[in-house]
Symmetry: C2
Subunit: 238 residues, 2 copies
Amino acid sequence: MDAAPNISEVAALIADPSRGTMLTTLLGGQTLLASELARTAGVTPQTASAHLAKMVDGGLILSESHGRNRYFRLASPEVAHVLEALSIVAKPTKVRSLRQSKQTRALHFARTCYDHLAGEVGVALTSKMLEFEWLMSEGKNFAITDRGADGLLAIGVDMRRIPTGRRALARQCLDWSERRYHVAGLLGAAITNRFFELGWIGQKASTRAIEVTKAGAQGLSKNFDIRVDALKSQSETM
Amino acid sequence: MDAAPNISEVAALIADPSRGTMLTTLLGGQTLLASELARTAGVTPQTASAHLAKMVDGGLILSESHGRNRYFRLASPEVAHVLEALSIVAKPTKVRSLRQSKQTRALHFARTCYDHLAGEVGVALTSKMLEFEWLMSEGKNFAITDRGADGLLAIGVDMRRIPTGRRALARQCLDWSERRYHVAGLLGAAITNRFFELGWIGQKASTRAIEVTKAGAQGLSKNFDIRVDALKSQSETM
DNA sequence: ATGATACTTCGATGATAGACGAATAATATG
DNA sequence: CATATTATTCGTCTATCATCGAAGTATCAT
């Protein structure tokens, strides 16, 4: 029989700053190389290797070997959920360098949160979908209206083709930077995927930061009445 | 401007086994003394004092002094949420002693999860309310039907008197022992409170384990068609 | 084959922090 | 006031673990 779960064991895996940075990077939803994760954490490959082994062993991440490369990704949405929950409780660190400030601004502007959009763009998108009554707030989830289903279909997100499973359809995920909700769950992932397909957004390797392309700015303006440059300037004046 | 949140810092606070035990105990929703927490963690008062100071400083718990006593409780539902999320990911520890086995069985049978019922009793209650169509599953939440509101009113839980706020009304909370959902959120708390008021359940100090009284067994049988002893025997045969 | 790249293993080092004993402070009880 | 109880502070000891250099293995490129 199982006793109470040992939360400290998992927490200890996240508690190391190098591992924390790796996990936060992987929360971008990407599958990354050991060397890339070593670089983002600022440690040597040996050190990174030890960290990654521990996290694989602890069930936080999964690895896949291709030739001499080894790829890592988060093990499950549950792990992502832990990282999100910690992000809410964690107090934000103060920005030190100009370089860091740039990165920070990019993260606040738009980023992936496991597999869906977060940051100003993610929150603006969610806010507009509520305003258009595509979504309705329903407790800790969103309900999708008929109008919403139509609207989403128009940009190529077909709700009927989203597989139903254990995972929530449209969860309200609290954004740590905006302190407002954005759409997570299957719908959040589907929309984000479609935006990638359409070339509206792009992501550099080993960053959570998302860039909105010209086509994306047009698409967001036309379909969602979102002025991307207005968001950007707002974040720059902060 | 704020940079990315430092999740490792928070995780480090939970990563220590003594602190983990204290937090898990406080997840029972109780307000406990420093000495009680020292005992549950199995450390001396000095050591506990240092741990508690760190957790207060880190924003995980709040303290309140009454005379020479100092009481501690979890700082927020957000912190409870982190602990729950960690419980799901953490692998269960194996039971070693007979004493531990008893405690474990008690925890599996019924416990408080921050401020609502969990364990076999919590899951059974939720399951019955779904069966009776008092609740409807709705994504990651429950919706309360009119029939449900009536039924709850009959045992003294008045939905109209539950304050609406940021907190979800009836969240689906994944039970780490049963791996099924139980009712959390404001409704979960209201029901649990009422059960305490009715004397249906009781809790020993500094334990998360809940005992169902004779009155409770009758009440649960009459109102929810739950046979408490059937649950108990089931857990004993495991 | 030969060298280059990606990752891992091993061993040594150094820093961190958790533990307790002893002593102190604050409050309650009689 | 004296004494017991509760909690904290300080100093010391010890164990753990993150880190890296050096060396080793596996794969790719030419």
